[in-house]
Amino acid sequence: MSEIETIDRSTVRRELRVALIGNPNSGKTSIFNQLTGSNQRVANYPGVTVEVTHGSCRRNGVDLRLVDLPGTYSLTANSPEERIARDWLIQNKPDVIVQVIDAANLERSLYLTMQLAELGGRIVIDLNMIDEAEEKGIRIDRERLGARLGVEVVGTIASRGEGIGELLEAVGRAGGAAPLEGTSVFEYGEDLGRLIGKLMWRLRLAGESAGSLPHRWAAIKYVEGDAGVRRWLAEKVDGGREIARKTDREIERLGRGAGVSVESLIADVRYGRLAAILAETQAGGAAPAAPLTTRLDALFMHRWLGMPIFLLVLAGLFEFVFALGEPLSHGLDSLFHWMAGAIQGSMADGPLRSLLVDGLIHGVGGVLVFLPNIVLLFMAIGLLERCGYMARAAFLIDRLMHKIGLHGRSFIPLVTGFGCSVPAVMATRTLEHERDRLATMMVIPLMSCSARLPIYTLLIAAFIPLPWRGPVLLTMYVVGIVLAIGLVKLLRLTILAGEATPFVMELPPYRMPTWRSVWQDIWSKSALYLRKAGTIILALSILLWAANSYPKKAVHEIDASPAAAAMTAAELDAARHAEDLAYSVSGRLGRAMETVFAPLGFDWRVCTALIGAVAAKEVLVAQLGIVSAMDDTSGEAGRLRRILAERYRPLTGVCLMLFALIATPCLSTFAVMRRESNSWKWPLTQFAGLTALAYVLTMAVYQVGRALGMGV
């Protein structure tokens, strides 16, 4: 640390808090990764699913504490992401704000710069991807642009790490410079200027209470109709309501005189000013579309070919994630089986061995078994997102999705749900708006995941005559989809009500993704899953193991019964096992549930199996086997089928399938929901809501079926 001693501490700070802000697709996160490496941590904000990444690095003896704010086009908060970005800037007042700009998109990006300048502070502009811009014939006079805006402008190519050093130097210099005053950088012309000026003065006259926001900025935002600032004025500022009333009248009058909204007047003025700045500093005019992007869009969004290609990509993604992931998951599963076997062989039977084998190893295995799917899915999504196809996929399917109240980007998570809900819920990350994200997450469990398939096949084989098996299986999938659509509509009318989220979305040019960024995606998603969701899954697994194992039965009735003599050792063991389960917490719970579930046609055995299904859907089959005193469920599906067919009526089989489809998302889904929604409210609502829905629907089917004498 001798470096520090050589630096004059009076002029250079030892720590700078730096915020990175920029439009989506500007390469902001790449810059952040370049600056901080793996030195990152994700912060959640209460009540929203938006995340802010923090990181740090050291340069010339100065500690830089960096924060990567969510992408935003404007400082007027239109969405939770934009609100988080803006509020963070206002509340934390970073020492330096770095705006990352896609150099080929200077005009639209400077729109944000103007608002940052109005907010005040020390700003550095980073023109990123200057190589791409130059290819398009755009040349930017950086010095002139900097002089015009009163900020320092540097250029980088984040994908190759070029210019990062200069950026850091500029940040260091800015840190020692005087901040922009945020005053009259941009004038708004006579009428608007007077309106803004008057409100600014009124705020100034309101005294202390209006001090929490820069007056000019607040005035502009108020006139722009920013909900947050309007609330601030009404609630926080003394006499704010009166100021608001007067100002609103003036805004209305100005708008009426102009024949357009005042918001659009402000946007007009801003873009007008920008045109003047651009004329001086940028050669090449508005960027033409990249020829490759135009050609690819003509193909991918072609009237006839677009959808087939999309379906092919989707099928490819599904195959990649699940067909490729399956052997990997299987391998992991075998590994844990082998470990369990090894421990079983070397340890004496007892509660500790049971905890290790059935609780811990089983639990850890249950966590890791999803990992191949998650890694593969985020590799695929990362590639699609970063090459630019993801936005096109949303574009293609938005019309359908919008009809049912979702967004084009909801489609891929939903389809992934047919494979597994866990990665599907994580995939909702690609949705920009929180309400869309939550609505999608809430219905994902209704997509029949691959763990439902063993349940369906067992029960269909047991109860449904051959010609009807295919149609019944299809019906199960369709019922899930139809319920999902209905549920989305319901959510949109109730807890997720509100204006439809706009589809005003940039279609970024196609780009070669860098492996580095894709790996970063995979790594961060997997790590998050293991750390945050994995721990919950593990804890719940152990809890379920305990419920299935305790209390222990000391003496088994079967041993005293005369039938025992006629049984083989394996059969005897199975019978004891069944007794154990019946005696355990799960079994007792199952018996207690029997009265509640009698209207659905479920006895205590089915109820106990349903408790098992909470761990993972396919456990339902295994648990049914155990309660039915099957010695080995894996090899004897045929026998279980016979036992079920003897004991239950087809109607019960159908009801059980229906209930397994709708009710109680598995605990892994629950854990991932908790992590992705950043609250307990959503997973609990989902758990309770879906279970209630399943109960009511299944009961209706059972009762109607019985009344009609169908399948009884």
Partner: protein, 263 residues
């Protein structure tokens, strides 16, 4: 009907001609009589309006001078083409106005009728058309309408009287003048643009988050847009603006009005 609203010259004629209250009344009565019984004579007119035959005759002469009616050899009064246009425009205005006053503003029926009668011949086609669209939107969303009415009812009467911004406000007159010069047909929007065509943005209609988002993305007055592609399912659309590609739904594109001249 819509074709008539869109006919620019008719409206100009209607707007520039001095249409008195009584002339409007006579014209619409002739139209009604002809529609009902197939003919209209001065006698029928006088009887129907409760005026003397002489008064009706004088009024008919005036209307003939304006070129709005003709008299055939059998002394039957006929509406000329311009006359029919003016009469139906007045009629339309009356209906729109009465609906607006009674259904939307909640003015008592009698008052609404009287005010609508007073306004029918003064209202421009543009305003009538704008009112028509507004009422339709409100009728389509009864909850919104109820909300508006509830909010309106909350504001005490004296608020309006005390406020300087009453109807004599110069800003409002300015607005009215603007409308007179605006083209009568509903403006072309971004949703109407054909693929491959370019146009210039005139303004972005509406309020709220979507409106602001459109502005933030650079869709502002004077910006050039080109409609690049329409999604295979017909919605959304891809446009190019300010050097980048943007997608938006047609419902959002309808908020973007274009200058009528296409390049």
């Amino acid at each position: 009907m819509p074709a008539q609203i869109n006919d620019n010259s008719t409206w100009r004629a209607f707007d520039t001609a001095e249409l008195t209250h009584s002339a409007a009344h006579y014209l619409t009565t002739i139209m009604h009589l002809r529609n009902r019984q197939g003919y209209a004579r001065v006698t029928d007119l006088a009887e129907h309006l409760g005026v003397s035959r002489g008064a009706a005759s004088r009024a008919a002469t005036l209307l003939k001078e304006r070129g709005w009616i003709e008299e055939d050899p059998n002394r039957m009064l006929l509406l000329t083409e311009p006359g029919r246009e003016v009469a139906s425009a007045v009629e339309r205005n009356y209906l729109i106005m009465e609906c607006f006053l009674e259904d939307i503003l909640g003015v008592p029926g009698e008052v609404a009728h009287r005010d609508a009668c007073k306004l029918e011949h003064l209202l421009s086609g543009q305003t009538g058309g704008a009112l028509f669209r507004l009422i339709r939107v409100l009728n389509e969303s009864p909850t919104l309408l109820k909300k508006i009415q509830a909010r309106v009812a909350e504001i005490p009467d004296n608020d309006w009287a005390a406020d300087g911004a009453a109807p004599s406000d110069p800003a409002m007159r300015l607005k009215a003048d603007d409308l007179e010069t605006a083209p009568a047909e509903p403006a072309q929007t971004l949703a109407d643009l054909e693929a491959g065509r370019s146009a210039v943005v005139r303004r972005v209609r509406g309020h709220g988050a979507v409106h602001r988002r459109l502005l933030d993305m650079g869709i502002t007055k004077g910006a050039e847009v080109r409609l690049e592609q329409v999604a295979p399912l017909g919605d959304p659309i891809k446009i190019r603006i300010r050097g980048y590609d943007l997608s938006l739904r047609k419902s959002e594109a309808r908020m973007v009005e274009l200058e009528s001249k296409e390049s």
